[in-house]
């Protein structure tokens, strides 16, 4: 597996990850829109395969009953989305592609919550685009 390193804008928080692959997801849910400004472009790295330094600077917000979002308290860079609730998705870090030192070579696997994306922009490419209903079905979550 390839190792990729990254850091936030100010360099206080750094990481090294053993990459399970090269493909990432783009989430257009309303929460990711607000938080990241456009959408969350993030690649999933298992908890055991990533090490961080500068953890003292990390701040977290429990954005739902099942997940947290973290950022650097010194420069505000978005660091991760992570499922905190026990279950099949627990623990993995969803790392924004932009915090990697080199994001080249990482490619979009799919877009999720595509029906919540504003008309303002669209991403090019023929990758799958899942609606909210399709996204929740894939995650095994019953729609409310």
């Amino acid at each position: 597996m390839a190792t990729r390193t990254g850091q936030c804008l100010c360099g206080e928080v750094r990481f090294s990850a053993e990459m399970p692959g090269i493909s990432y997801g783009v989430c257009h849910c309303k929460m990711c829109q607000r938080w990241a400004g456009s959408a969350l472009f993030a690649i999933s790295v298992p908890e055991a395969d990533i090490t961080f330094s500068g953890q003292h600077a990390v701040q977290r917000f429990q954005s739902s009953g099942w997940a947290e979002r973290a950022w650097c308290g010194k420069c505000g860079s978005s660091l991760w989305y992570r499922v905190t609730e026990p279950g099949p998705h627990h623990g993995a870090y969803e790392i924004p592609i932009g915090v990697f030192d080199d994001a080249d070579g990482l490619v979009i696997e799919h877009e999720i919550f595509i029906d919540q994306k504003p008309d303002a922009f669209a991403l090019a490419g023929g990758h799958p685009r899942l609606t909210q209903a399709e996204t929740l079905a894939r995650l095994g979550i019953a729609e409310e």
Binding site: Q7, C8, L9, C10, Y24, V26, M31, Q33, R34, W35, A36, G37, S38, A39, L40, F41, A42, Q59, F61, S63, R69, A70, W71, G73, K74, C75, G76, S77, S78, P96, I97, G98, V99, A103, D104, G105, L106, V107, I108, P118, D119, A120, F121, A122, L123, A124, G125
Partner: protein
């Protein structure tokens, strides 16, 4: 326009300076937002905000702000004396304010794995930095 962060603690009101969204792919915006900064330029004097805003001086001429409670990306702000310039993160306003992406800057340093669809006005790093150098020179005189 009215916007707020993910947790709702920070609210902002502003008037867009133009009828468009812009994206910045520079390394600083990339690391800060995790992709690109998708933003709405605010009209000078039109920005008002409330709530726990924290900011970082990312250069000698600008700062970047976020919500201290939820970490939401808020804005890029020029701190040069005599200037009033805010780039407001598009995600703060519902449906990106109904605006459309029309400009991409630092297009030549965008990661290769994705692209915004459609024809936009684009500028390279060299084009932007030449313009900015001239602007800073003007600001110092």
């Amino acid at each position: 326009m009215k916007g707020h962060c993910l947790c709702g603690a920070v609210s902002v009101t502003f008037e867009p300076a133009a009828d468009k969204l812009s994206a910045c792919h520079c390394e600083m915006c990339r690391r800060w937002t995790g992709s690109a900064l998708l933003e709405i330029d605010a009209k000078p004097g039109s920005v008002a905000h409330d709530g726990p805003v924290k900011s970082y001086a990312s250069s000698d001429w600008a700062e970047r702000a976020w919500c201290d409670q939820c970490g939401t990306t808020l804005w890029y702000h020029l701190t040069l004396p005599g200037h009033d310039y805010y780039s407001i993160s598009a995600g703060l306003v519902e449906d990106a304010g109904g605006l459309t992406l029309r400009t991409e800057i630092y297009i030549d340093v965008k990661p290769g794995g994705y692209a915004f669809a459609g024809d936009h006005e684009t500028k390279t790093k060299a084009e932007i930095e030449a313009g900015f150098a001239a602007f800073l020179e003007g600001a110092q005189t």
